[in-house]
């Protein structure tokens, strides 16, 4: 009997605690009618932002606020939607956390800011600009739009991105590019590692540059590239048999190589100041 009473009290206490916790979280939803190539921006200091395409000409924002120390401000003007997490006095990384799920028309131009992230965008055709401090950035299945990413130390992963300009600047975050092709692919890193696995296709200009990080690029045997690789103080390896080309780069065994494959449709530069570079054959 005593045991049952104790168990009942325990159940009530757990239910009550759960209610208290659940009631601290608030869910809000916003809907905005927009037209072609709308501009949508979300600034969220703490918490994830996920963006995916919607079925109609509407922007739908679902926000889960972790406490009453943060509120969601929004502005909506003609074809522009701006969402901002407004931290109130006393907010910290936990109480100021907001989780956003955003649906936008596929051709919308999207700008996301978050210190902690993660940031995720998928299946869009418009321009995408992502910025985060330590945010994990994940972009996939983007076709046609320009992609600009800035992070300090957050890792960046791009998968199946094509037909647009890709520009990534990261101080210490590792950058992974899987099936990324386009007219321009530029990665600028200080100490992060850069890994590319793709075709270097599209007759584009590919530049992967880092100060101290390593670069690993994997390409198929049928890749059509004019490649130059150099590491001032690190080692350079190449799995391909390249046709020699006239270049100002002084080919130095172990530190630099240059040459062409196929019709040299794309220009590829792999440059690291002191990291290792490896051009691998898939």
């Amino acid at each position: 009997m005593e045991h049952r009473e104790t168990l009942a009290k325990l159940v009530v206490a757990v239910l009550f605690a759960g209610t208290v916790v659940a009631s601290a979280e608030t869910r809000q939803e916003f809907r905005f009618k927009v037209h072609r190539r709308a501009s949508v921006s979300v600034a969220n200091q703490f918490g994830p932002i996920w963006v995916k395409p919607s079925s109609g000409e509407e922007v739908v924002v679902t926000a889960v606020l972790h406490s009453d120390k943060v509120e969601v401000d929004h502005t909506y003007s003609l074809n522009r939607v701006s969402i901002t997490s407004h931290l109130l006095a006393g907010a910290d990384a936990e109480s100021g956390r907001v989780e956003y799920q955003v649906s936008v028309p596929a051709d919308a131009n999207v700008t996301l800011h978050s210190a902690t992230g993660p940031l995720r965008a998928e299946r869009l055709h418009g321009d995408v600009m992502l910025e985060g401090n330590t945010a994990n950035v994940d972009v996939r299945d983007l076709i046609g739009g320009h992609v600009h990413i800035k992070t300090l130390n957050g890792p960046v992963t791009l998968t199946n991105v094509s037909d647009g300009h890709v520009e990534i600047t990261s101080v210490g975050g590792d950058v992974a590019l899987n099936s990324v092709n386009g007219p321009l692919v530029h990665v600028n890193s200080t100490s992060g590692r850069i890994v590319y696995d793709g075709d270097f296709g599209g007759g584009g200009e590919y530049s992967l540059m880092t100060h101290t990080g390593d670069i690993e690029a994997t390409a198929p045997s049928y890749a059509s590239i004019d490649v130059m690789a150099s590491s001032t103080q690190g080692k350079v390896e190449n799995d391909f048999l390249l046709q020699p080309t006239h270049t100002s780069l002084a080919a130095k065994a172990g530190n630099a190589f240059a040459g062409t494959m196929g019709k040299a449709a794309s220009s590829v530069r792999l440059l690291s100041f002191s990291g290792k570079i490896h051009l691998k054959k898939r």
């Binding site: 130390n153 540059m209 100060h211 440059l271």
Partner: protein
């Protein structure tokens, strides 16, 4: 209409001279009318600029002189070989750090104006921990007093982020140091020049993100 209200509607003023309330305020307020005159002058000058024309070197020299007088920049150790570089890209490469230094200097000045009494004073904190940059090859790149101030501003609003920003600043300063050395040794090397531009772009990004954290 007060000056604050006028400032809020200022962006809508262009081409609109029929609002009597605004016109009345401009007649009575020399500060707001002076601001409108300056904006109109800038707008008129901007229309005259040809898109692909570069501002004359005198403009950049003036900016650099002002920054030196403010103590925001020092003369770089550039040998005579690099002076008057023929490569136009260099002008553009140096524009960014100068522009960023201007923005940072203005923001720091505005922020210090708003620091309440009793709050830690950034300048005192900066001088109490001297970490002057050393540019010698092979030496670790520290952060200078201006960057310490910036980090103190970040600390005042987001203390947990200071260590990360400091680490990033040291890393990009080391990148700049190595890139400058490379350019000094190989002034005609396009790759060395690209490294330097990339390094400055990295530092500009760190400054920009730090300022966003530091400003209310």
């Amino acid at each position: 209409m007060t000056c604050e209200e006028f400032g809020r509607v200022l962006p809508e003023l262009e081409g609109d001279h029929h609002n009597s309330e605004r016109e009345e305020h401009l007649k009575t307020c020399s500060s707001c009318s002076g601001l409108v005159s300056d904006l109109n002058a800038i707008s008129a000058e901007a229309r005259l600029l040809v898109e692909d024309q570069e501002p004359s070197p005198r403009v950049w020299n003036s900016i650099a002189i002002a920054l030196r007088q403010e103590g925001l920049i020092r003369d770089p150790e550039v040998p005579a070989l690099l002076a008057g570089s023929r490569l136009r890209g260099w002008r553009l490469a140096w524009l960014r750090p100068v522009a960023i230094a201007l923005v940072v200097g203005a923001a720091l000045f505005l922020q210090l104006e708003h620091i309440p009494r009793g709050a830690p004073v950034a300048r005192q904190a900066a001088t109490s921990t001297p970490v002057l940059r050393t540019d010698g090859v092979g030496q670790d790149s520290a952060i200078d007093a201006d960057e310490v101030q910036l980090l103190n501003l970040v600390s005042s609003r987001a203390p947990a982020m200071r260590a990360g920003y400091e680490s990033d600043l040291r890393a990009v300063n080391a990148y700049i140091r190595d890139a400058e050395t490379s350019v000094r040794n190989n002034p005609n090397d396009g790759i060395a020049q690209q490294y330097l531009m990339n390094a400055y772009e990295q530092r500009a990004m760190v400054y920009e993100m730090a300022m966003k954290r530091a400003l209310p």
